[in-house]
Structures are given as structure tokens and as C-alpha cells.
Amino acid sequence: MNTKQKLVVIGNGMAGARTVEEILARGGAEQFDIVMFGDEPYGNYNRILLSNVLNGSQDAKEIFLNPLEWYAENNINLHAGVRISAIDRVAKCVIDTNGAVTSYDKLIIATGSRAFVPPVQGLLNEDGTDKHGVYVFRTIDDCHKIAGYATKCARAAVIGGGLLGLEAARGLINYGVEVHVVHLANHLMENQLDAPAGAILRNTMEKMGVHVHLGKSTSAILGDDSVTGLAFKDGEDLACDMVVISAGIRPNSEIGRECGLTVERAIVTDDQMRSIDDPDVFVVGECAQHRGRVYGLVAPLWEQGRVLADVLTGANPKAEYHGSKLATKLKVMGVELASMGVTEPPLPTDEVLHFADPKRGIYKKLIVRDDQLIGAILLGDSSKAAPLMQHFDHGTNLPEDRTSLLFDLGAVPAAASLLEMPDATQICNCNGVSKGQIRKCVEGGKRSLKMVMESTRAGMGCGSCKALVKDVVEWVCDGQIEEDPSVHYYVPGVPLPKPELVAAIKEQNLKSVSAIFAALSDGVEEVGSKMALSSLLSTIWGADYAEERDARFINDRVHANIQKDGTFSVVPQIKGGVTSADQLRKIADAADKYNVPMVKVTGGQRIDLVGVRKEDLPKMWKDLGMPSGHAYGKSFRTVKTCIGTELCRFGVGDSTALGIAIESRFAGIESPGKMKLATAGCPRNCSEAMVKDVGAVAVEGGKWEIYIGGAAGAHVRKGDLLCVCESHEEVLTIIGRFMQYYRENAKWLERTSGFVPRVGLDKIRDVVVNDSEGIAARLDAAMQKSVDDYVDPWLEAEQPVSPNQFVTTLPMVTA
């Protein structure tokens, strides 16, 4: 006996078919026999791409989302080309135009909308027959008819200068006709653009050969039997031999009204997409009115479809739709456009940011209220659309630096928009992952950044492309990206953000990595978390930290940097880049004695002995008699200096002495990311102090400017001026306090170039320089304890801490 309920769906467009997909994804095939009715004799196609079909860049068969086979494969009984004329809610059945009756247990109305035809004279011939050359632009069949007729025409008029009208105009140009757009409003696309943007778009369109007539109300379509022109209310007219009407859409809600459902602008639903009159009738898409709003974009109808499927299948009986914020990114006649929210500031207190470059067709406008984005227009350049849509959707606070919202100043320009970017474009240059590979991965069901990164390895090299990988994932998901909860954890294996993790470690007196796993993650030891936890414990407890060497990365187990062939590099400390003949002699002797294949001067003004075997490390350290330079860990690395006042004729501050003092004090201090420093003896900045994690630049008068958050690696960023110090002692205090604040508050592997803009320079200055939170003394004391507890790790040469610490291969004892 068939115990399944019968689900009837009226409408086989993007809303209806997508909703059925969502129902199937929730096991709906087990619960329902599904019958679908579609007015058009096809499967479901992507209506957004109709303009591509019209302009010939895509074939009609390329835009199908659900070909007819899909319905058969999923046991859906599709009646394509059959129109439903009535619903009988008492008998619970639908009746098609042939009189055939189909009963239902649950009904979904997804009838969408149709082209709105304004009331003009002469639409039809006097005898009531269709006038040749008058079309609407809504379906595949419309496309074919328009294309067929256009080849015979010299001049076409498009009524309507909204998105669809302009797309129709773009399509018509390809048929060699002269195209005129006739628009009622005073600028193009008034729903998405303000007047200046509309003017720029008009200019761009006219350069492409489209004639634009604004503020024109059409009163009549002229011609007997065939179109010969348009007449306007102002008395003018325009000769043309075809007309495409694209003046908006109207919901197909009559079927709802006729069966007694409440219809205002469309069929009214509750938050579960159920009609408010009948618990067995659901409504989705452009024919639905939710909380007074009717949507004509694709994203809201997908959200509605998910809620409807959750409710109908019982996957989440409490699911609710709360309305959508309208944001869209598209191309109008090849011109990029992103539009969000309002186009004009509703309140006089709203902030408006503007940029216009009419000659290049670029216009950007942001409307901000209480630090949140409430509206945006990006025309001609939508490269910043993805982050802005994020802010708009999530209501997050905008960064202080508003220009960064409009432009990528000083950063690598984002390549062409994601839409235009070919699949073959390499996104991750470390691991060679293309846009197409990421797209396939997302389409294969991996909808979170973490899953995509682990699956493709994109963004898992230097990490500099991670934001772009995220953009691609978001773009493919069309805003439906899933967030992995672990992004908020300090380490993936312990489900706590950093402040809570630090508090738990202190409260429960957890001194080792294994103690943390035992107490905070049910004893499950997670490989990707160990390194971060051991660094954190060292920062919190200093010498009281119960180190477990296996929780350390190999570099920190043997205090050298592993190379691609399994050998190591040895970098002794050369404070401030100032060395001596004696040190150089020792280094040269060690290089000879251990057959070091390469001796390299590093970017941090030190000398690197590269290619040393693990078993030679302790012997080499002893021979060198120099401390570790820490060129391998997530820690304070080095201070690069210039000659300064010692001998340079321009120097105004003793940068070498300061650099040596800094390195002597902070050598080897562990931190969430590495810290590379520099001091410069004058603003010529030869030691590049402005692109370091911390830089000190001497200025006239014996003072030092302190820069923080600079970077010149995978990411390039000029540091921010934190303050000006009067003496070397003050420099040591301030930068020590900043580094301690960074150690306590940065995310794992977050360099200062990410930390400073995330927390905000003003906030950091308040805490570190002005002591606004009263924690300066505590920060100074914590850094002092770390300095006091520091021990040169190369002293392990005398006493290895674990069995066979420096042995590459052990022999078998017995055969």
C-alpha cells in the first residue's frame, strides 16, 4: 500500500524546481509522490541567462538547470506545457486547462510572474489579433521569436530601462538593428542606481550604440498589422519596426485569489511560506508576498525554498524565513554592477561615500549608518562587491579605514571579477589550485571554506590567497556559504575562542598540552592544535610550562629549520646584524667542518648554514659557541638595522645600538606568529623598518617613531605609526608592551599585519601608550617574566631532552 502523501507543485520555474530539489535533499522522495505542472514545455531553466540566449552567447540548451531526464530520474511526474486553471481547496485538487483533475495532500504554488504590459493604445490590431513585431521578454520562446523577427528589422525600441530592458537591448544589438531604449523614469535602472550612476551607465550604453530616451511615457504603438513606431505622451514619436516590452513583472497570483487565498500584491504567506488561509498550501518565489514584500531576485527565493522544504519534510518543523536583504551582482550589457539596499541616504545623519570616474564609467557609492552598510552601488568595477556584501548581509561593523572598502590601495589588485575569471586561473599559487578546481569542489557539496581548503589545499601554503579562496567559495555558493564553527576557536581541536581558552587554562591550572586535551576536549589529541597550544602555554606560564616535546613542530624540537630534503638550517644570533671577524671565523670553520653545502646571507642580516644533518646540529652549536638566532619558530626573530649615527652621514639616531638592545632583551620570545623587527637611523628607512612587525625609525631631536603591523612577505602592508618615543629605554618598554599585548590577543598564526587592523590602531594605542585599561604594568611584568625565563635552546647540545633527539636513523640492535 502506498503510504506516501501526494505533493503537487504548480510552476516549474526556478522557484518551483529549486524547492523540489531542496525537498528531495531532505529525503522528501520517501514521503511524497511529486507531481509538477509547468506552463512551458521544457524542464527548468535559468531565466537569468535568457539575455545570453538572446544575444547569442549561449545556446538555449545550455541554460537548463533541470533537463527532462532529471524529473524521470527522481520519479517526478512532470506535466510540461500543461497549465493549471483552478485550485479546488475543498476537494483538494487542481484542474488543468483540459479539465483533467489531479488531487493533492500538499500543494505548492510557484507560478512566478509574467511580463507587465503597460496600458498603451495599439497593442493589438483593431480586430483583436496580435500586432506583428510586439514582444515581451520573459521565456525561451520569447527569445526565439524576438531573434527571428529582429533579423528582418532596421530599428527596434525597448520599452523599459530597467535591468531586463537593458539586457534585451544588449541582445538586440547583435542582430544589427539600431536599438532605442525608452524609459519612463529620469534615469536608467532607478531601482538599483542613483541619478549620477544612471547617467554614467547611460553614457556607457550610448558609447555601445544604444540610444536612450528618458522621461518618456509611451501612449501608443503605431502601425496597422505590423509595428511602424511609438507615440509618446509629450507628442513626439519614434519610428521603429519592432517593440520589446520590458517594463517590469507582475506576480501570477490570480490562481490564488480565485481559490480564496489572501492576495495583496501577491499571495500572502506566513514565515513558513504557508499561505495564511490554508495549512496544506504553500507559496514560494515571485508569486509569494512575505511580510509585505515580493521578491524578484533569485537569492530570496532560494532561501524561501529551503525553509519550505524544512517545514514540509519535517527536517526542521520550526524553520522560518525572515525576509531577505536585497543585494545583487550582475552585468548589464557587459558592465559590472553590484547593488545593495538603498540608493539614497534615508536620514540626513547617514554617511555617504562617493567616488566617480565618469570617463572610465566607474561609480562607487556607499551609504553607512552607525558603522553599518545600508546601501551600496558599484558600477563599472565590482571588485570590492564580495566583502561589501558580507558586511551588508551580516550587519558587521565597517573598518575605520573607509577607503579600503572602495579600493585596494597598496594591495595586489584583485584580478578580474570572479564572474569573468576563467576556470583555469590559478588562485593558490603555492599549491597550484585553480578557480575551476575550487568551483568543482564547492559544487560537489563542500560549502565551507575549511572543507574546501582541506579538500583542494587551496590557501594552505603561505595563506595569502585565503581571502580570495573564500571569495570564490562564496561566489559559487551564491551567498549560501556555511561557516565551520572551528573558525572561532583558537585551535581546531579545542572548542573555545582564545579568551575562554586562556581563562580555562589558568582556572584549571593546565600546564601541559596533554592536560589541555584531557580537560577540554575529552582527551582527544588533535594534531593541528598541538603546536599552537604549546606556544600559548609558554606565553601563559613561562618557565612553569610543563613542556612536552612531541607537541612541538620539528623546528622547535631540534631548534633549526627543516629543509625540503630533511636537513636543517642553522642561523646563529647576530644581534642587529652586527658581527665580527671572530664570529665569521667560527662560522667559516663550522661550515668547513660539517661540509655545509650552502652558506647564505639572510634577509634578516644574519648568516644561514643550510643543509646540516640532524646529528650534526648539537656539535655545530658547540663549535660555534653562539646562541640560537631563532630563525625557525613562531617567535621573535631578529632586528634588522642600518649603520645609523655610527658612521652614516645622514643618521640621526643610533639604530645599531638600539637594535642590539632590542634583540638582547627579546630574543626567542614565543608568539602566535613570527615577529620580525628593524630599526632605522633616519627616515630614509634603509632597513625597511616601516614594513616590519615592529619598526623604530629615528627622527631629528633624538626621538624614535614606532611603527607596528607592517609586512613585506606574502602580504605587503606599511606599518602604522603607534607613537614617538624619547629614548631607547622608552622604545624597549613600549614595544615590549605591544608585543605582549599581541601575544595575548592575536589568533594563532595571525601576524601583526592582520592583528593591528583587526583590533584597530586607536584601540592598541589607547591600551599600550595611554594605558586606558590600566593593564600596562601587568603587560610589562608578563613580558619581563618571559624575558627572565628565556633560556638559549642551543644549550640542549650539552643535554638532549628526549631520547635520540638528534639521531636521524637508529640501527637495529639485534638481527
Binding site: I562, G566, P811
Partner: protein
Amino acid sequence: MNTLIPSEYCLGPASQIPIGEGREFLVGETKIAVFRSRNGGVYATQPLCPHRAGPLVDGLMGGNILACPLHAWKFDLSTGQPVLGDCGLTTYPARVTEEGDLWVEMA
């Protein structure tokens, strides 16, 4: 050593390997990697990562999962199957006796 007959070899005291780490051993002419996990497991595998020949004994362990030190490919040491990467590891049965000796079975 006869390479055709499966044999079990004693590698000496397990304490040569710190808990939670791996060490490389030479068995006849074959190098292998042997690991001791914090949850009591003992695992033996091929010594180099199939990706770019990273020395697996220098990797980080989390339970029976090992991450290669060079590019963080991850493997389940109990099966040799990749957790993150395209290619797995050859594994060898390994055990520790009550006396604390380490034995590995190799073909």
C-alpha cells in the same frame, strides 16, 4: 636478511622512541619509521612521505594521525590511509612486548 619470507624483527627497547614521536630505524637494508602515540599505539610505516619525501618521523602526531613536517599531508598510521592528501603509506605490524621491546614484522 631474506626479503621474501615475512619475519619479525626486534628493534630493541621501545624507550628509544619518546612518547608521541617517531624515530627512523634501519632494518637490514630497509629504513622504516616507528611511532608511539600518546594513547598507547605503536605503528610502523615507510619512512618518507609519498608527496615530496618528507621525513615522517619529524612529523606531529595527534592520536594515530600523523602530519608530515614538510607540507602537512596527514595519514592514519593504523591503516596507512591518507586523511589529507592523495596517496597512502605502506605499514608494517608492530608491537611492544611486556619487557618493553619493540618488534616489527616485515616481508
